[in-house]
Symmetry: C2
C-alpha cells in the first residue's frame, strides 16, 4: 500500500502529524500536493475536496488516500493508520485512550492557530494583530501551561513508565507531542523557557523521538519543511512576551 497524503505544500501545519507517523514507520507515501505535473499539486487536492470523484469528500486538508478510501481529519487519519503502522496499542481501551489524547493535542493546535488568527483565517495576521495579542497572552499564561501540564501529568502517571505517553511502546501521540514541543519552541521561545522546567517528561520525550533513526533522517531531509510564518506555529515576537 502506497499512501497518498494531501496537504498544503509549503507548510508543516496539520499535515506534519501525519508525515511524522508515515516517516517513523518507513511507510511508502506520496506527498501529492508537493509534486508537480498532471494529476498532482494543489489542483489534485482541491479536486478531491469538491466531491466530484467521491460522495464522501473531505471538508479540509489534510486527508489521506489509501486505495479507494479517502479519509480526513488529522486525528481520524492517525487512528486509521495507527494499527497499520504499529503506532497504536493493541487493546480497544488503549486505542480509545490514545485517540482521546490525540484529540486533546488537536485542541492545543487550534489554540496555537488562533493566537495569530483569532478573528478569521481568511484575514491577514496584520489585520487581527490587536486581537492576536490578547489571545496569545491567554494562551501563553493560562491555556498552554494547563494543556502541557496535563500531558506531563499523563506521562508521569503512565503505568508503562515515562518513556512513552501510553504503555511501553511508541504511539502516534508521542510523535505528535514531539511536534507540539518543537513547534512551541519555535513560536514561543520565551514561554517555553519558563515552562520547560515544569515539563521534564515532555522535554525528554521530545529528545527521545528526535533521536529515532527514521525521524532523525526525516528531520535532516528536504521532506521536512522548515517552520515558517504561514504555518500553525509562527514566530511573532510580539505574541511571546518575556
Amino acid at each position: 500500500m502506497r499512501y497518498e497524503l494531501f496537504y498544503w505544500p509549503s507548510i508543516q501545519g496539520r499535515g506534519e502529524f501525519i508525515r511524522l507517523a508515515l516517516e517513523e514507520a518507513g511507510a511508502p507515501y506520496r506527498d501529492v500536493a508537493r509534486e508537480r505535473g498532471r494529476g498532482k499539486g494543489i489542483a489534485a487536492m482541491q479536486r478531491l475536496m469538491r466531491g466530484v470523484e467521491s460522495a464522501r469528500p473531505p471538508f479540509a486538508p489534510p486527508f489521506l488516500r489509501a486505495g479507494r478510501l479517502v479519509i480526513a481529519q488529522t486525528a481520524n487519519i492517525l487512528q486509521y493508520l495507527g494499527p497499520k503502522l504499529e503506532l497504536a496499542p493493541k487493546s480497544e481501551t488503549s486505542r480509545l485512550w490514545v485517540h482521546q489524547l490525540q484529540l486533546t493535542v488537536e485542541d492545543l493546535v487550534v489554540d496555537v492557530h488562533d493566537t495569530h488568527h483569532p478573528v478569521a483565517s481568511s484575514l491577514y495576521y496584520e489585520d487581527q494583530k490587536r486581537e492576536a495579542k490578547r489571545r496569545a497572552r491567554f494562551f501563553t499564561e493560562a491555556r498552554a501551561p494547563e494543556l502541557l501540564g496535563y500531558f506531563e501529568q499523563v506521562l508521569q502517571q503512565n503505568s508503562g513508565g515515562r518513556r512513552y505517553i501510553v504503555g511501553r511502546r511508541l504511539s502516534y501521540v508521542d510523535l505528535s507531542l514531539f511536534q507540539v514541543m518543537a513547534g512551541l519552541r519555535y513560536a514561543f521561545p520565551n514561554m517555553m523557557a519558563r515552562l520547560e522546567p515544569t515539563l521534564p517528561g515532555l522535554v525528554a520525550l521530545h529528545d527521545r523521538v528526535a533521536r529515532r533513526p527514521n525521524i532523525l533522517a526525516y528531520l535532516n531531509s528536504t521532506r521536512r519543511l522548515p517552520f515558517n510564518e504561514d504555518g500553525i506555529f509562527r514566530r511573532y515576537p510580539e505574541l511571546d512576551r518575556k
Copy 2:
C-alpha cells in the same frame, strides 16, 4: 450497563451531543453532575479530572464512565457509544466516515464558541465583545455558510438517500446535526433565515430527528436544559446582524 455522563449541569454545551445519543437509544444513564448528594454533583466530576482515581484522567468534560472505562472528548465518546447504541454503521469504512463528519461538527462547535469567546474562555463575554463582533461576522458570513453547505452537500450526495447523512439509517451524526441546527437557530436567527433556503436537506433532517419518539419525549422533559447565555449557542443580538 448504566452509563454515567459527566458534564456541566446548567448548560447543554458539548454534553448535549452525548445526551441526544443516549436518549435516542433509550440507554439507561445518570447525568452525574446534575445529581445532588455525596459522590455526585460537580465535585464528583472534578475529582475524576484530577486523576486521583485513574492514571488516565480526562482533560475536560464531557466524559463518560462505562463500567471501569472513563472516556473523554465528545467525538471519541460518540465513536465508542455508536455501535453499542446502534447509532453507527456496520462497516469500518463507514464508521471512519461518520467519525470524520462528527469531527467536522466539532470544528463548527469550536467556531460557534469562539464567536462569543474569541480571546479567552476565562474572560466574560463583555470583556471581549469588540473581538466577538469581528469573529461573529466572519462566522456568519463565511465560516457557517461554508460548513453548513458542506454538510448539505454530503447529505444530498448520500448514496443511501437524503433521509440520513450516512447510509439508510440514523447515526449519531444526524443527532448532532439536529443539535447544530437547533442551536444556530437559537443563537443566530437572522443568519439562519438567510441560509436555510440553501439547506433544504438539513432543515428536513432537523425536523425528522425532532419527531422521533424518544427525542420528542426528551425535548419535552426537564432533562433537556433550555438554551441559555452560558452555553455554546448564545443569543447575543449584536453578533447576528440583519
